[in-house]
């Protein structure tokens, strides 16, 4: 039977000396889809939308990750969401686009430690070493679609949909213990 969403504790954390997994504080997440002329949209948002898939841009505390040819994920503190929505509403009249607030859809796990990249190989078939620092990708982790952000060589963030979160977290927690046992 599927566990109800509240069954997953939002402050779950696990870790050992080599790698630690924590749940990040809630933030604003906005999914943006737009095609054609992006100039007016960028002017309204006050940032340059990266064109290459996986590239990131940052303005203040707002981060943008390009997920597809016409798709971006915007995230920042919860207070910025209304500002971004208002800016996009202005441009919408002349440049139709889709901006959806998906803040409540997923949780973010912060994975850090010397073995962080190795922990991800447990469920991710990609070559983690080819994911450059300061980039991000949508990929798969043990069957669940996740968005990986690489912030440093030994620090990642992983956005996981709520319904997959308990499974992904349990797998990461098991991996933490395994890697610690190997290191010991």
């Amino acid at each position: 039977m599927n566990a109800p969403v509240p069954a997953f504790s939002t402050d779950a954390s696990a870790g050992t000396s080599v790698v630690r997994v924590t749940t990040a504080a809630p933030c604003a997440r906005l999914s943006l889809r737009a095609r054609g002329e992006l100039g007016p949209l960028e002017a309204a948002l006050g940032l340059d939308l990266p064109r290459r898939i996986g590239a990131r841009a940052e303005v203040g505390e707002t981060e943008v990750l390009c997920l597809g040819p016409d798709e971006w994920m915007l995230r920042g503190p919860e207070a910025v969401a209304p500002t971004i929505r208002a800016a996009c509403d202005e441009v919408y009249k002349t440049h139709p686009m889709s901006l959806v607030d998906v803040s409540g859809r997923e949780v973010t796990f912060v994975i850090e430690g010397t073995s962080a990249a190795e922990l991800l190989t447990l469920g991710c078939p990609r070559d983690i070493d080819r994911l450059a620092v300061g980039e991000g990708r949508r990929t798969v982790f043990d069957g669940a679609t996740v968005v990986l952000w690489r912030d440093a060589t030994d620090r990642f963030r992983m956005d996981v949909w709520h319904s997959f979160a308990p499974h992904v977290f349990d797998l990461l927690a098991t991996g933490c213990r395994e890697l610690a046992a190997e290191a010991a």
Partner: protein, 100 residues
């Protein structure tokens, strides 16, 4: 595991991120009401079942989410090429030459 090149991401990635989506270049008629039952049958049900190079659609499901086309040899499972949806069907003889 197969490694598949996504023409949108421009990266060669593991098969687990992709899903197969049937034969490529199956075109729906411009004027559907002019089609008779035989033509509908061909459009809906008749597929090639090729032994050898096969033009097929794939989707980068756990990635950019895009559908794209590929030419894969159904015997060796080797991808001859991948190209964006909407691009013209690449010439098979030049693809085969490139492999040798």
């Amino acid at each position: 595991m197969l490694l598949i090149h996504c023409p949108y991401c421009d990266e060669t990635l593991p098969e687990a991120e992709f899903t197969y989506a049937g034969q490529a270049h199956v075109v729906r008629a411009q004027d559907p009401s002019s089609q008779d039952d035989g033509q509908w049958e061909d459009f809906l049900f008749m597929r090639e079942n090729a032994r050898g190079p096969h033009y097929e659609r794939w989707r980068h499901f756990h990635g950019c989410g895009r559908f794209f086309n590929a030419v894969r040899d159904t015997v060796s499972d080797k991808f001859l090429t991948t190209y964006k949806a909407g691009d013209a069907r690449p010439d098979l003889s030049s693809l085969l030459e490139g492999q040798e």
